[in-house]
């Protein structure tokens, strides 16, 4: 019997706290055996000064909630949390958090990987890069490797979810 809490989905400018988010998923429960997390951070590649993230208020939260609900159907999760930051983020700053909790470790680990792979390809966010050398700015283009990472979940499950 796995009782799943509704997925927690937030898009915000503020940082998030990994311990607090993890504690919220397990508070008062004794059926959680595994919590997996993924934090994506801003790297200082190639003279990057900052990433500026934009989203589609309303649609972005709905799309993430849909993906999270699908994860809760595919794996026996007791809960999951997705927090995605927007605005100007500098190298070293965390951008996105995915947390999944389950009685079993494989479910937590796999659903966490599934969610971040889908966030890369399916959630309405756009990233602009600003550089230290006055090169101006550049919109990040979608990557074929991200599409491939997301596609492997559909291939494994026969799912066509976005």
């Amino acid at each position: 019997m796995t009782t799943a809490a509704a997925p927690g989905v937030r898009v915000q400018e503020a940082p998030f706290d990994l311990s607090a988010e993890s504690a919220a998923l397990t508070a008062g429960r004794e059926d959680v055996g595994a919590v997996a997390s993924f934090v994506g951070l801003c790297r200082a590649d190639d003279g990057l000064a900052a990433l500026v993230l934009e989203h589609y208020p309303g649609m972005t939260e709905r799309a993430i909630a849909g993906i999270a609900a699908e994860a809760c159907e595919r794996w026996p999760l007791t809960g999951c949390t997705v927090v995605h930051r927007v605005g100007r983020l500098r190298p070293g700053e965390p951008i996105v958090l995915v947390l999944t909790a389950s009685p079993h470790r494989a479910a937590a680990l796999e659903s966490c990987a599934f969610l971040i792979d889908w966030l890369k390809t399916g959630a309405p966010f756009w990233k602009r890069e600003e550089f230290t050398d006055g090169r101006g700015e550049r919109w990040v283009e979608a990557k074929a490797e991200d599409d491939a990472a997301a596609a492997r979940w559909a291939a494994r499950a026969g799912s066509a979810a976005a």
Binding site: Y56, M59, A123, P124, F125, K127, D146
Partner: protein, 83 residues
């Protein structure tokens, strides 16, 4: 009809949102993109390569042949780059 633009589509068009009233023969997403292209040089630049643009209707991803109704919220943006 409310139309929203994001990322470089927004930058090229010059605004993030606008209220438009396309003529009745603008029936689907692809037709709306063609009609919007004629509104200004910025719109024309934004929609010059229609294949590089994705759309959503009422906050769901939508294909070019998605039919439109007057009250729809339609958004145009580049392929997403989240995470």
């Amino acid at each position: 009809m409310q139309v929203l633009y994001f990322a470089w589509v927004r930058q090229k068009v010059g605004v993030g949102a606008e209220e438009v009233a396309p003529p009745p023969d603008v029936a689907d997403v692809a037709g709306l993109m063609r009609w919007l292209s004629g509104r200004s040089p910025g719109h024309a630049a934004a929609f010059a390569n229609a294949g590089a643009i994705r759309a959503a209707v009422n906050q769901d991803f939508a294909a070019p042949d998605r039919r439109l109704s007057p009250g729809d919220e339609v958004a145009f943006f580049p392929p997403v780059t989240g995470g």
